[in-house]
């Protein structure tokens, strides 16, 4: 510790450069903290035990439909209180850039999902209209939709049986606002009648995308899930019963291997950081060769000079890294809140801090090793003579 002021003085020799380098390291570790949260969020489906709603989908892929007949079978499983179901109905409004998150849902969907903010009158209007849709407030605001408006959608998957074309005509039956900010992401959804899809679609009738099961006793949910999956064992439509969170994440995972994507981004960021910080350290040592030679003249050994430069490099990265991780700790709740419940990033835990700290040491060591070796090897006589 008695050398700390020497190391600090070396860092403060070029304040602007040091601050900018620390900011680069901070940005890298801020990204690391946030992306590690994203990775953790996508890997954490939650445990089944204790939840009262389960999602039953194909074991092989969420785009693999399940037979409608499964609904009654699941309803008869002991411990199941209610079953509803849904199906994906993608499409766009007016232009392909206006992609929609649109689901076809069963008539009893809102018996289970009573947290959408769908009022009784809204639901009654929805039930009355075969082509009715319930539109989330965010989407309604975006497209300027009002109750009673016609809402044409170009379907992404299903063509209309009557016309043979992918264009579908809907009527806005209601616009819902979720009561909880945690549900805010649902305000980007549009819900249509599954029955309409089933009857009017040119194909895919008699199938559902997934079932939502309300269990009678949340304490028994793991047992119930196993019973449901046992129904289809060794069939051509084996199921996987999971938490809603895990199901939603599997939806998002369709864009690719999130862990790989996150890893690739972090890798690229840290590679850039290595080049940047490495260059800074190399420059810092190059500028200080006479000072390092003076230290050696005064009796500092080659190893102690190596240690000083190495420590300087590690300290530089650790300062930026700790600040970056601390900042990401602060930002994570805000990011989660801004996503409206779509993405719940876990707080940065001990594991992330430990990995982050190991990364800081590794980056500091890697970028410090060559300048430190250069400092160690410099010959006093040559360095003092400016050779």
């Amino acid at each position: 510790m008695k050398y700390l002021h020497l190391v600090w003085a070396a860092l403060m020799r070029r304040k602007t450069r040091t601050v900018l380098t620390i900011l680069s390291v901070l940005a890298a570790f801020l990204l690391f903290g946030l992306l590690d949260g994203v990775r953790a969020a996508f890997n954490a489906g939650g445990t089944i035990a204790g939840v009262d709603r389960l999602v039953v989908a194909s074991r092989f892929s969420i785009i693999q439909p399940l037979p409608e007949s499964l609904i009654a079978q699941v309803q008869s499983v002991p411990g199941v209180r209610r079953v509803t179901w849904g199906n994906w109905f993608g499409g766009y409004y007016q232009e392909p850039k206006n992609q929609l998150i649109m689901f076809a849902v069963a008539a009893n969907y809102f018996d289970i999902y009573d947290d959408y903010g769908v009022t009784a009158s809204m639901r009654a209007a929805f039930d009355r209209s075969r082509t009715g849709v319930l539109v989330g407030a965010t989407i309604a605001r975006r497209f300027g939709l009002k109750v009673g408006d016609k809402f044409p959608v170009m379907g992404a998957i299903y063509p209309d049986k009557a016309t043979g074309e992918a264009s579908w005509q809907f009527d806005v039956a209601g616009i819902f606002e979720t009561p909880s900010s945690k549900m805010r992401a649902h305000e980007q959804e549009i819900l249509m009648h599954w029955k309409y899809l089933d009857e009017a679609s040119a194909y895919g009738s008699g199938t559902v995308g997934w079932l939502i099961v309300q269990v009678a006793d949340p304490a028994q949910s793991a047992v119930v899930a196993q019973r449901i999956d046992d129904l289809t064992k060794n069939s051509d439509h084996e199921t996987k019963t999971q938490t809603e969170k895990a199901f939603n994440l599997s939806f998002a995972k369709q864009i690719g291997d999130i862990g790989l994507i996150v890893g690739a981004i972090i890798g690229a960021v840290f590679f850039t950081l290595l080049l940047l910080t490495g260059n800074t350290m190399a420059q810092a040592v190059r500028e200080r060769i006479p000072e390092l030679a003076t230290l050696k003249t005064l009796g500092f050994t080659d190893r102690s000079v190596l240690g000083l430069v190495f420590f300087e490099s590690v300290l530089l990265v650790v300062i930026g890294g700790v600040l970056g991780l601390a900042l990401s700790s602060t930002l994570i709740p805000a990011v989660s809140a801004a996503s409206g419940g779509m993405l719940e990033l876990p707080p940065i835990g001990v594991r992330t801090w430990l990995i982050g700290f190991a990364l800081m040491l590794a980056v500091g060591a890697i970028v410090g090793v060559l300048p430190a070796l250069r400092a160690m090897r410099l010959r006093i006589v040559d360095a003092l003579a400016g050779r």
Binding site: L6, R13, T297, L298, G299
Partner: protein, 227 residues
């Protein structure tokens, strides 16, 4: 009585690429305890090379150097560094202070290699700065000091660990006449009143007049000495 510094038939050859240059040719010299020796000679005569060898910054190609009875030409690496820390105080032409440290912290640097606690290091530094009449500048950084003041800080740093000898390479080469006189007077005081053995390389005959002995080097050989 044996000399403090004994140099025996020392040669130094530098190799740059394919070229070898013999800078010192069989130099032999005794420096007594308490001497203030001025080494003079034209550029390239080998003055600084000889000074570097005496100060343990470099090793001779052949020959032997002993300081206070210890052969230093056989020391290498960490052993030589530790020897320098204990036995030699260095004063350079361009002061070579650490720019981000205050005068006091600069003076303390050699003591970081000892086991002295921080408070003791600070106390020693204060005494050394007092000796060079710079107590009031202790918290100033080198850039806030004049050349003469910086060189006095360097002298305080050189003497703080009470070394066996002081090695000065053109200590007044970057100073105006008045500052140079102050620095030379200070070296004289250290030699006369504190018994420090000083070896000083200089081009300046006026500076050499402050020394008790003067030696001349030409083309790597001692050619003349004067008391």
């Amino acid at each position: 009585m044996s000399a403090l510094v004994e140099i025996r038939d020392v040669s130094k050859v530098y190799t740059r690429g394919r070229q070898s240059v013999e800078v010192l040719h069989g130099v032999s010299l005794d420096i007594q305890q308490g001497d203030f020796l001025a080494l003079m000679g034209p550029s390239g005569s080998g003055k600084t090379t000889l000074l570097n060898l005496i100060g343990g910054l470099d090793s001779p190609t052949s020959g032997g150097i002993s300081v206070a009875g210890q052969r230093i030409d056989t020391l290498r690496g960490a052993a030589l560094a530790r020897w320098r820390a204990v036995h030699v105080g260095f004063i350079f032409q361009f002061y070579n202070l650490l720019p981000m440290l205050t005068a006091q912290k600069n003076v303390e640097v050699p003591l970081l290699l000892t086991k002295l606690p921080a408070a003791e290091r600070k106390r020693h530094a204060a005494i050394a700065l007092q000796l060079v009449s710079l107590s009031d500048r202790a918290q100033h950084k080198p850039a806030e000091l004049s050349g003469g003041q910086q060189q006095r800080v360097a002298i305080a740093r050189a003497i703080i660990s009470d070394p066996t000898l002081l090695v000065c390479d053109e200590p007044t080469g970057d100073l105006d006449r008045q500052s140079a006189e102050e620095v030379l007077n200070l070296l004289e005081v250290l030699n006369r009143e504190h018994g420090k053995t000083i070896i000083m390389v200089t081009h300046d005959p006026k500076a050499a007049q402050h020394a008790t002995h003067t030696l001349h080097l030409e083309k790597g050989t001692l050619v003349e000495s004067a008391a």
